[in-house]
């Protein structure tokens, strides 16, 4: 377990360094920030002064070193647009995104796994076929389309839910469904096929031969084995809950990081863009590391090798 964990942590560190290079390079490649901040009729001297103030006059390597040094202490500099530390701007918006992502991942993991297990157990039945159809729809219809459909029907036509913004729990329903939409569908399918395979194994047959009740056979003996591929898929999909919120937050005017990132990109607010991309990536790497640890707990073959 220790060597397994050490290698996972090392991989995570290397990934974060890689991310820092990409984040830095991308924002430099998108054009000159000074040109955007300064009025067109400003003098060459003003322009150079601003570049110096922003640190854009230094060699690119030095700029990266400064960025990395700051990033490691979560100091990304002041946001051009908001005039205060980029980290503070990020942290103001982060809770809204986190809450939405949490609700959405609960929906997709909880509902997806339950439906998936049920369809595998009652394979070929009516529920199985219905679930299959819904899962197919989930993978075929993009989440923005389903968002707009929900707004038109649930909010505009029947006035059941607020169209946008963050308020009480009702305001979570549509954005959370939209955010979990794709992931729910693929998790259902993955759970179904994974459970299907496991229910066919000899050890599940032996569990039945022991006289264990079906509930124990399914949840203790089959599900824990079926979980590994489900968990792998889920960890890959965590990225949707973070990056997917860019689209969903824009549609539902959700005051979170996703919406903020669009504003930051449009304003070419380097420090803020860098802060958002870097912090979101680190969060994702950390979540994936958590999943890796979970693997070890679930499967002794990983833990003990």
């Amino acid at each position: 377990m220790t060597s397994y964990l050490t290698s996972r942590v090392l991989q995570a560190i290397i990934t974060i360094i890689g991310i820092s290079i990409v984040v830095f390079a991308l924002s430099r490649l998108s054009g000159d920030a000074a040109a955007l901040l300064i009025p067109p009729d400003a003098s060459e001297r003003d322009r150079l002064a601003l570049r110096e103030q922003l640190g854009l006059d230094k060699p690119i390597i030095v700029q990266y070193a400064l960025f990395l040094k700051g990033a490691l202490s979560f100091d990304f500099g002041n946001s051009f647009r908001f005039g205060k530390p980029a980290l503070d701007v990020y942290m103001e918006r982060f809770p809204a995104t986190l809450q939405l992502a949490f609700v959405a991942s609960l929906i997709s993991a909880g509902v997806g796994v339950l439906i998936g297990v049920y369809s595998a157990v009652k394979s070929g039945g009516l529920t199985d076929r219905a679930a299959n159809l819904v899962a197919l729809m989930g993978q075929a219809i993009p989440s923005f389309a389903i968002s707009i459909l929900m707004i038109v029907i649930l909010a505009v036509e029947f006035r059941l839910l607020p169209t946008s913004g963050m308020g009480d729990w009702t305001s979570f329903i549509m954005p959370a469904i939209a955010l979990s939409w794709y992931s729910l569908a693929s998790l259902t399918r993955m759970t179904r096929s994974s459970m299907h395979d496991v229910l066919d194994t000899e050890y599940v047959r032996l569990a039945r031969l022991k006289g264990l009740p079906e509930r124990t056979v399914i949840w203790k003996h089959a599900f824990r084995n079926a979980m590994l591929p489900i968990l792998t898929l889920f960890s890959l999909q965590l990225v949707f809950f973070i990056s997917g919120s860019v689209i969903v937050e824009s549609i539902f005017a959700w005051p979170g990081v996703g919406q903020l990132s669009i504003q930051a990109i449009q304003a070419r607010d380097y420090p803020l863009v860098q802060a958002i991309v870097f912090l979101s990536s680190v969060l994702l790497v950390a979540l994936n590391l958590g999943v890796d640890v979970l693997y070890g707990f679930i499967d002794p073959r990983i833990r003990l090798s």
């Binding site: 070929g124 194994t201 000899e202 050890y203 047959r205 032996l206 569990a207 039945r208 031969l209 022991k210 006289g211 264990l212 009740p213 003996h221 824990r224 084995n225 679930i298 499967d299 002794p300 073959r301 003990l304």
Partner: protein, 336 residues
């Protein structure tokens, strides 16, 4: 089969039919099988793969893959009550308690994510209602010791992937014996093991069977395995029992052409060109058996009637019967 005077059979299977509905048609995997088993006896069921021997066994514990498979008709009397008439819940309580099964493949039969101890505790909790951790642990360790696992105190914490195939087979056997079943079903218990380990496992099964006066059914495609542990043998072909006899009687006087062919391949007799005897042709597809004796197309002694009607059971001696037209013709036409 060997109906001894007075003593009722522990298990009596009467005219069992288990069919599977597939896209290619109905597969009559078990098609009218009858036998009985006395307390303390061991019955071997031998046959090629697809002959229905494993399905017969799974029918006894009523674990046939639904919805394709179904026990169509028959009776399975265990200690006098018909298992086919029990509710699922009543049947579940018997499985692993009074009737236990040793499964085929030790490499895949144990759940990889739970420790040996955890898996061995389950039947005790379930059927004997033992809840105390220390009592469970002691019983599990005693069970492992009985099947010859070295250092069982350490082994209870092991996971299946840390054990060898032979050890896993012993664990599976220990699991089956935990609740002191009166009937032990062994589905190809040694097929997946090395030959040396096979012998050890067979010896173990034999010892335990004698000690506890267990009744046992061993299903195998290997007559050598059957010969080592069984008192009686039933030979299955295409869903039917074609010959049943006491072990000695069967080996000394095999009657059915299929049994004779099996014996020839077992004894390593060659066909004159130095090749081992193989039975010509393929075992039939159980979805496409028509009338008559299913062995007829491969049988050297086949007659006209063999392709039109299934032969009735002929009693050769009190514990030796077979279903073959050629045999009944011989008996009918002259002294034995």
């Amino acid at each position: 089969m060997t109906q001894m005077s007075g003593q009722p059979a522990l298990l009596e299977v009467k005219n069992l039919r288990t069919y599977f509905r597939t896209r290619a048609g109905v597969a009559k995997a078990v098609d009218g099988v009858s036998f009985s088993l006395q307390q303390g006896r061991t019955l071997g069921i031998v046959g090629e793969s697809g002959s229905g021997k494993s399905v017969t066994m799974m029918s006894i514990v009523r674990l046939i893959a639904k919805p394709a498979g179904r026990i169509e008709s028959g009776e399975i009397l265990f200690e006098g009550k018909d298992l086919l008439k029990l509710t699922d819940e009543e049947m579940r309580r018997i499985r692993g308690d009074q009737i236990a099964v040793v499964t085929q493949d030790p490499m895949t039969s144990l759940n990889p994510v739970y420790s040996i101890g955890n898996q061995l505790e389950e039947p005790l909790r379930l059927h004997q209602g033992i809840k105390t951790k220390s009592v469970l642990r002691d019983k599990v360790i005693a069970g492992l010791r009985r099947v010859g696992i070295p250092a069982p105190e350490m082994r209870v914490r092991s996971y299946p992937h840390q054990m060898s195939g032979g050890q896993r087979q012993r664990v599976v056997t220990a699991m089956a014996l935990e609740c002191h079943p009166s009937l032990l079903l062994c589905d190809e218990p040694t097929t997946a093991l090395d030959v040396t380990v096979q012998m050890q496992v067979l010896r173990l099964l034999r010892e335990i069977q004698r000690e506890q006066r267990l009744s046992m059914i061993i299903v195998s495609h290997d007559l050598a395995v059957i010969a080592r542990v069984c008192d009686d043998v039933a030979v299955m072909y295409a869903g039917r029992i074609v010959e049943k006899a006491g072990l000695v009687s069967l080996f000394e006087n095999p009657s059915h052409p299929y049994t004779k062919a099996l014996m020839r391949s077992l004894n390593g007799e060659t066909d004159g060109k130095g090749r081992l005897h193989a039975i010509e042709g393929q075992p039939p597809d159980v979805r496409q058996i028509k009338r008559g004796c299913p062995f007829a197309p491969r049988c050297r002694e086949a007659m006209d009637i063999c392709t039109s009607e299934f032969p009735p059971e002929v009693v050769l001696s009190p514990n030796h019967t077979t279903s073959c037209w050629a045999v009944s013709a011989k008996i009918g036409s002259g002294p034995r």
